[in-house]
Symmetry: D2
Subunit: 145 residues, 4 copies
């Protein structure tokens, strides 16, 4: 449905994701990139948990946030950058194992993009739903200045 | 304004926070607990950043989420537990240094609590604003079952 | 996917909607009720607009809110009532004509339900996306006390 | 704290609000405009209620949305226009009487503004909390085109 402006969108997303040190810290992997859609995989680790032994809600937010971000980034032209304006996440169920976040663009506007992410457990259980707003910064490098 | 039901609320919050392995992973510290209000401090580390060298938006969400959670937890009776229903966060400015998240209860209901958090940089710059909903689980231990 | 607990769910939703005087005020109609899903139709009227002649964002919120609410209500047992905990809506495009809101349950929990609504213009244009949390009040009449 | 760019901000807000036919429909009044802050008053009317006789959550959203909008608009230059990007609202308590919505700018950026609104009942009861994102459209008339 969404046609990418940049034919090298997938390599651009993977390269940018590779520079996200926070994703390395938690062990998340960008496991799929399509035009306007992504998948992020997060293997379970005990050091990602909260006080009751479930994966921390903020960690769930991190992978959903990033899944939305690269879904949006995949549809943008090369040479631009992206900022997260805001996101909202509902935690639907506690999670004790590995997670998969699927991000998808709802609407790619000239300046603003709205995206959603769903987070699932390995058994298919629906863990979280996010709705996010992003803003494109034209002609801004996606690297530390 | 908010009177704690449990006189040992501060110790209970600190003990629970100490079991949040995800907070240890990112180096966050519960630096203050008052009835219905908390502060979480996050020293800057390069491994918390996204592709442009700013603190990852999901990390900002993590400390704001946790600040709201313990603000709510501080007003609850001993012997109960808490789940995050949902949160919404606006990222107001990119952050490149240490962060302080201040959580505060807006309304503590019988079952649901609404809380807010503000995240600030060391120079006082306003980095993010969160609004969150939490649900109390009565007679449920705040520990792994 | 969602099996209704109450076989008379549709009549119960329509009867409840009929008591929403605010829906009568704006001219909205509950045009479809399925288990866990609804449609609300809003014919265009000039008195629903904001300062630029578009349908007011709050009016768009009203029909999306109500579409989510009855999607959730359709799956609940008879004799219970429902409160909106919170909702978040992205306005994707300005709207100048009649609108259709489609509500759908994402997850129906014991106490909390998460639902979504999409609002469309007559030409199929995507106008808004909502994500909402609702809470069931067991054994509480859905009528003025 | 917020200095208005346009000295005639109050007249500009009142004139724009006067063109919001949806506000006339529900009987809302812009009762105060300060730089970056507004108050909207909504007298109780039975035709604003939902099925249980409380003011409809969507109506509460309408006045909070509008309070945020004019708080943002008050800080903008003359000759620009404003769109609501998204909002999130928690309904804290049911409302059966007249309402007051107070909007306030959290951060006025170059393009995006974040604002909040609180809705109160006449007895001071806290009814709702909103967090909203708005986008300025430079050199765009605030009137039907």
């Amino acid at each position: 449905m969404n046609a990418p402006v940049d034919p090298h969108f997938a390599a651009r997303c993977r390269e940018s994701f590779g520079r996200q040190k926070a994703m390395t810290l938690i062990g998340a992997r960008l496991s799929a990139v399509e035009p306007g859609a992504t998948e992020i995989t997060l293997p379970y680790r005990e050091d990602l948990t909260q006080q009751k032994g479930f994966v921390h809600g903020g960690i769930i937010g991190m992978i959903a946030d990033t899944a939305c971000g690269y879904a949006a980034f995949s549809l943008m032209p090369a040479g631009c950058s992206l900022v997260t304006v805001e996101y909202k996440i509902n935690i639907l169920a506690p999670a004790r194992g590995s997670l998969l976040a699927r991000g998808e663009v709802v609407k790619a506007g000239r300046s603003l993009t709205v995206a959603r992410a769903e987070v699932y457990a390995q058994d298919g259980k629906h863990i979280a739903s996010m709705q996010q707003t992003l803003m494109m910064l034209p002609d801004t490098p996606d690297t530390p200045q």
